[in-house]
Amino acid sequence: MAKSKSLVFWLCALAGMFTLGVISQGSGFIEGVLEYSEDILYLSQQHLALSAVSGGLAIALGVSLGVWLSRPKQQRIAEGVMQILNIGTTIPTLAVLALSMTILGIGSTPAIFALTVATILPIVRNTYTGIREVPSFLKEAANGMGMTPVQILVRVEIPNAVFVMFAGIRTALTINIGTVPLAFLIGGGGLGELIFSGIDLDEMPMLLAGTIPTALLAVLVDICVGATAYFVVPKGINPLRTAR
C-alpha cells in the first residue's frame, strides 16, 4: 500500500520534472542560462573560496571559543559572551557588511570578516552546549581514572560533543553559502555578481544563472558536512549509526 503510494509520488515528480524541462527548453530558457556558463564557473570558484575562508575561520574561532567557554573557569562569563554573540548575529548581515566596509574598505577582506561574524554563532553555541551536556558522571569517571584535564577534553568531552558540534557547523556553513552573494555589494565577488546584475538589468536568465548554482552549492555543502559527520562521529554515539 505504502509502496504503491510512494511509487505514484515518484512517477508524478518525474513527470513534473520532465514537463518543466520541456517547457524551459522550449522557451530557450536553458540556453539563456548556459550562456553564462563561463561566468558561473569562475564566480562559483570565487564563491566557494569566500565560503571556505570565512567558514574555516568561523569553525576554527568558533570551536576554540566554544571549548574555552565550556571550561569550568569560564562558567561565569560564558552566558554573557554567548549573549554578545547573539546580538552580533541579530544585526543584519548587510549591516555588518556595510560596517566592515567602512573600516576595512572594499574587497574580499571585509567580506570575509563579515561572513565570519555572521556564521560563528551556531558553531560556538553548539560547541559550548555540546561539551557542557557531556554527562558529569563521564567526567567523574575520567577524573577518577587519572586523566589530566586536557586528556579528558580530547578523549572524552569533545568526542562526546562532536555530533552536536557538527550540527552547528552544518547550519553555519549553509547560512554562509547563502550569505556570500551579499559580498558582491562590497566588492567581494562571488555568484552575487550574477544575481544582483540580473536584478538590475531585469535579466531573468542572468539572475537564475546566479541563484541556481548558489542553491546547488548550499545543498552540496550541506550534504558534504552531513557525510563527514556520519563518518567522523564515533559509531558508539552516532544516532545515525546506532546498532540497535
Binding site: 554527562p135 567523574e140 569517571a141 577518577g144 581514572m145 587519572g146 586523566m147 572524552v156 554515539i237
Partner: protein, 399 residues
C-alpha cells in the same frame, strides 16, 4: 590496606557550614571488602571520594599500603586506584576494548600488553572477547556494561578499588549474579575494596567489614555478623532492621553448623537396629544412605518400633537436602517450604557429610548473645553442641 586517619570534609554552603565527614578513622586490611553503609547524606560517598581526591579532604590523611597518599600527586594516585561509579561511566565514544585499555594506556603500557589484558579481563567475567572487544557500550545490556565497568577499573591491576554503589542501577536478579561474580573474582584477586552501599543486604553479602555512617560520623566499624548481632546504638539497630538475626543466616554456611557425624542406617539394616540407634540418641527419625554414603531416605522411629523387616522395606523419601556450601538462609527457606526441622547435608557429589537441625541453627545464632549474658550474670549456658532431637515427620510419603 587502606587506612583513614581523622578524615574530615567541611562544606561551606549558603545555608551554613556542613560537616559531611567528621574525623573518620578506620583501617581496612589488605584483601578485604569494606562496605560503607548508611542513609543518603550520611557522608559515606564523601568519605569514599576523598580517598582518590574526587572530593578534596579538609583535613586528615589517607594511607594506602602504609604510604601517605598526600605525598602523591593526584594523577598518579588515581591511576593506581580502581574506580567504579554507579552510572558505570563507560565512554560511549570508545569500544569496549578502548574503554578497558584507558588506564593501562595512560600508564604507558605496550599495545600488545594492554590488548591482551583487555581480552583476559573479558574472559574473567565470562564475556567472549571476540564478540565484545569491538562493540560499543550502547550495544550492551546494563548488566554487561556494569561488568565492563568493574573490569575497566581492574585493568591496570590496582591494589585498591573504590566502588560507589556499583550495582545500584541494575535489576535485582542481575545484581545478585554480578555480586556473586564479583565475590568470586575477589577471592582470586584479593583487592582491598571500599564499597559504598545503602542496602544492608548487599553489605551483609559483600562485606568483610561494615562501616556504618550517620550524619558524617562513623558509628560502627565491625564484621557483618557482629554488626548484626551487636548493633552499637539505636541508630545502627534501626538501620540494620528488626530482622537482623535473620540477616545473619546468610553469613553462616551449612558446614559451620551441621553435625558432622550423623548417625545413619543402610537399607539392609534391620528396623530393630535402627530403632536402637534412634532410641539411644532420642531421635524420631534417621537418615538412610546407600553404598556410597548418599542419603536416599529416612526411617521413622514409630515404624522401626512397631514393624519387622529391613530399613530398605520401610523407609520414606527425603523431603529436602541441602548442600554444605549453602548458607543458612537457604536452609531456613527450605525448612519452611518443606515443613521439616532437619536436613541431611551433602557435598557436590551428593555424599552425606552431616546433618543440620533447626535447634542447631538457633543454638549457633544464639551463642553470641549467650556469651554476652554469661559475662553479665556469670551463668554458664548448658553445653549442647549438636541438639539433634528430630521432630516427628508427619505425612511423609513413602519413597
Amino acid at each position: 590496606m587502606i587506612k583513614l586517619d581523622h578524615l574530615t570534609k567541611i562544606f561551606e554552603t549558603p545555608q551554613g557550614i556542613v560537616t559531611a565527614s567528621d574525623r573518620v578513622s578506620m583501617e581496612v586490611p589488605e584483601g578485604e571488602i569494606c562496605v560503607l553503609l548508611g542513609p543518603s547524606g550520611c557522608g559515606k560517598t564523601t568519605t569514599l571520594k576523598m580517598i582518590n581526591r574526587i572530593i578534596p579532604a579538609t583535613s586528615g590523611r589517607v594511607f594506602i599500603n602504609g604510604e601517605d597518599t598526600s605525598l602523591l600527586d593526584t594523577i598518579t594516585l588515581r591511576r593506581n586506584i580502581g574506580y567504579v561509579i554507579q552510572q558505570i561511566g563507560l565512554f560511549p565514544n570508545m569500544t569496549i576494548e578502548e574503554n578497558i585499555s584507558i588506564v593501562p594506556k595512560l600508564l604507558g603500557w605496550k599495545k600488545s600488553r594492554y590488548l591482551a589484558r583487555a581480552a583476559e579481563l573479558l574472559d574473567l567475567v565470562a564475556l567472549d572477547p571476540t564478540a565484545f572487544l569491538k562493540r560499543y557500550p550502547n550495544e550492551l545490556s546494563g548488566g554487561q556494561q556494569q561488568r565492563i565497568g568493574v573490569i575497566r577499573a581492574l585493568a591496570a591491576d590496582p591494589p585498591v578499588m573504590l566502588m560507589d554503589e556499583p550495582f545500584g542501577a541494575i535489576d535485582p536478579i542481575n545484581r545478585e549474579i554480578i555480586q556473586d561474580e564479583f565475590l568470586k573474582m575477589q577471592k582470586e584477586l584479593k583487592k582491598t575494596v571500599m564499597f559504598v552501599s545503602h542496602d544492608i543486604d548487599e553489605a551483609v553479602k559483600m562485606a568483610d567489614k561494615i562501616a556504618i555512617f550517620n550524619a558524617g560520623k562513623l558509628i560502627q566499624f565491625d564484621s557483618p555478623d557482629r554488626t548484626l548481632a551487636h548493633p552499637k546504638n539505636d541508630f545502627v539497630k534501626g538501620f540494620v532492621g528488626t530482622d537482623r538475626t535473620l540477616k545473619r543466616l546468610r553469613l553462616v554456611k551449612v558446614a559451620d553448623v551441621m553435625n558432622p557425624t550423623p548417625d545413619t542406617v543402610r537399607p539392609e539394616d534391620s528396623l530393630k537396629s535402627a530403632f536402637q540407634v534412634m532410641d539411644s540418641r532420642g531421635y524420631t527419625s534417621i537418615t538412610m544412605v546407600d553404598q556410597s554414603n548418599r542419603p536416599i531416605g529416612m526411617v521413622l522411629r514409630a515404624q522401626a518400633q512397631t514393624q519387622e523387616g529391613t530399613c530398605g522395606d520401610h523407609y520414606y523419601g527425603l523431603r529436602a537436602i541441602v548442600n554444605v556450601s549453602d548458607d543458612l538462609r537457604t536452609v531456613a527457606s527450605r525448612m519452611f517450604s518443606y515443613d521439616t526441622t532437619w536436613m541431611p547435608c551433602v557435598d557436590e557429589q551428593g555424599v552425606l557429610l552431616g546433618e543440620i537441625t533447626q535447634r542447631g541453627i538457633t543454638h549457633y545464632l544464639g551463642a553470641t548473645y549467650r556469651d554476652k549474658q554469661v559475662t553479665g550474670t556469670n551463668h554458664r549456658p548448658t553445653a549442647e553442641p549438636y541438639p539433634a532431637a528430630h521432630q516427628p515427620e508427619q505425612g511423609a510419603k513413602r519413597g
